[in-house]
Structure formats: C-alpha cells, structure tokens
C-alpha cells in the first residue's frame, strides 16, 4: 500500500463519479462498454507486461509506493485500476462529446443523423 495504490483507487472512484453524478452518459449500463473494456484489459496484459517486465523494464516503480503485487507477469495490480479508470474516462468523455455535437446539430436541422449512438446506449 502506498501513494500509487491510493491514487489508482481514487482515480477509479473519481471517474465513476464523473459518469454517475455528472455526465450521466449511461455507458456503464451498455454491453458494448463492458465488452470493449474486457477487450482493452485483455490487450493491456501484453502491452503493460512489456513496459513493466522486471527483466528489462521500460517503466520502473518504487515498490514502497504500491502493494508490490504484480500479476500477470510483472504488471503491478495498480496498473489495472489506472488503465480501467483512464479508458473508462475516455469513453465517457467521447460519448458525452458526441451527444453535445448531436444536440447542437439537431438544433438546426431535423433529420435523424447519427441515431445509432443513443439507440445503442439504451440497450441494457
């Protein structure tokens, strides 16, 4: 336990709060979000694994600032919270930006441009 463990957990809480209390895109209730996150976390293993491998690391961590638990390979568990929070934030901001663009476009012209987005979000 250390500053990385703490801030990684806080980052996830902050990102979830941004979605649930502020932007409310509803993305967490969609299949596409969870499927995409599963794929992203799957690909995090080879990429992050390469960056953090203790035999020849690109990124070096101060073990005192984290739990020291590394798995799979030598990936610090904190990295998964980091990645989950960061990619979730990107998706929330992306969907939010899309909604705003649509609203602005919809204010002028009537046709159903880009209806695919919102309809997908309604799928449980």
């Amino acid at each position: 336990m250390g500053i990385y463990t703490l801030t990684a957990l806080v980052s996830v809480v902050v990102v979830l709060a941004i979605e649930l209390l502020w932007l409310r895109t509803g993305i967490l209730r969609t299949w596409r979000y969870w499927l995409a996150m599963a794929i992203v976390m799957g690909f995090q293993v080879p990429v992050d694994g390469w960056l953090t491998k203790l035999s020849d690391p690109l990124v070096l961590y101060n073990e005192a600032d984290m739990t020291g638990i590394r798995a799979p390979w030598d990936i610090p568990v904190e990295d998964f919270a980091f990645g989950f929070g960061m990619v979730t934030l990107a998706m929330v901001l992306w969907v939010h930006a899309g909604r705003r663009e649509e609203r602005r476009a919809g204010a002028g012209s009537g046709p159903a441009t880009g209806t695919a987005g919102p309809r997908q979000e309604q799928r449980a």
């Binding site: 990385y4 596409r32 390469w50 101060n62 600032d65 990619v87 934030l89 990107a90 992306w94």
Partner: protein
C-alpha cells in the same frame, strides 16, 4: 530501436487498432473535433498525475528505452504519447464493438448477411439510403 522502444510499442498499438477504424467503421479518427474535445481534459489530468508521481519518485523510466526527450516538468514525451494513444485505442474498441453488436442485431432480425457486412465499415447501422427497410427498427 532500443531508445525508441516505448514509442515503437505505442506505434504498434495504433497499427493494431487501425482495422477497427477502417474495417469495422469505428469512425474515431474521422471525427477529429469530437476526439479533441473528449481527449483534452483526460490528457491534462493524467499528465498532472504522472508529473506528480515522477516528482514523488513513485516511478521512473529506463534511460536506454526512451528517447530522452523531456516535456515541461520532466515528463517524458512517451508518457504524453501514451495518454493519447491508449485512450484512443479504447475508443476505437468501443465503437467497433458497438458496430458489431448492431450488425449482429440486424442479422438476428433476419437482414441479409451481405447488406449487413456492407454497412459495417460505415458504422454497422443501416444507412439511410434504403429507406423504410425493417433494419431501422432493430431493438
């Protein structure tokens, strides 16, 4: 290669996700304005976190594997690239998965495979051109 290794890894991430844009119609790279609006706050927030952690000595970077190019506040160029590339890979995945799910829904609704596959690179949903077809009501 050695000193550019981190950048090469990031380049591979972009390369491997490119088919999501080109074949599965993710339309992330093709919406640069929206991408910029979405990414800017994230890049700023995570850069601040990174800079603070580097200053605190929580993590550091291999001198041999990075270009050595430092941005303000001692942040390696590679870290900025990371905060841009990895989230974009996530967005490409999100859009591509959404399109595939939409396409699967259309197939289940009995639409011809050929038409559904033809629409996939354009976003997965039925294009407005063939108006009034059943595909519009996929739920």
């Amino acid at each position: 290669m050695e000193r550019g290794e981190y950048l090469v890894v990031m380049g591979l991430c972009l390369l491997i996700t490119l088919p999501l844009e080109l074949l599965l119609g993710a339309r992330v790279w093709r919406r640069p304005r929206r991408l910029l609006v979405a990414m800017a706050p994230l890049v700023v927030a995570y850069s601040i976190w990174d800079i603070a952690m580097i200053a605190a000595g929580s993590w550091s970077y291999s001198d041999e594997k990075l270009t050595g190019i430092l941005l303000p506040f001692e942040m390696p160029l590679e870290e900025l690239v990371f905060f841009v590339v990895v989230p974009i890979c996530g967005l490409l995945t999100l859009e591509a998965v959404g399109n595939v799910l939409t396409a699967l829904g259309r197939l289940r609704a009995g639409e011809p495979v050929g038409r559904v596959l033809r629409d996939l690179p354009h976003g997965g949903g039925p294009r407005p051109a063939p108006a009034g077809s059943t595909g519009a009501e996929v739920a």
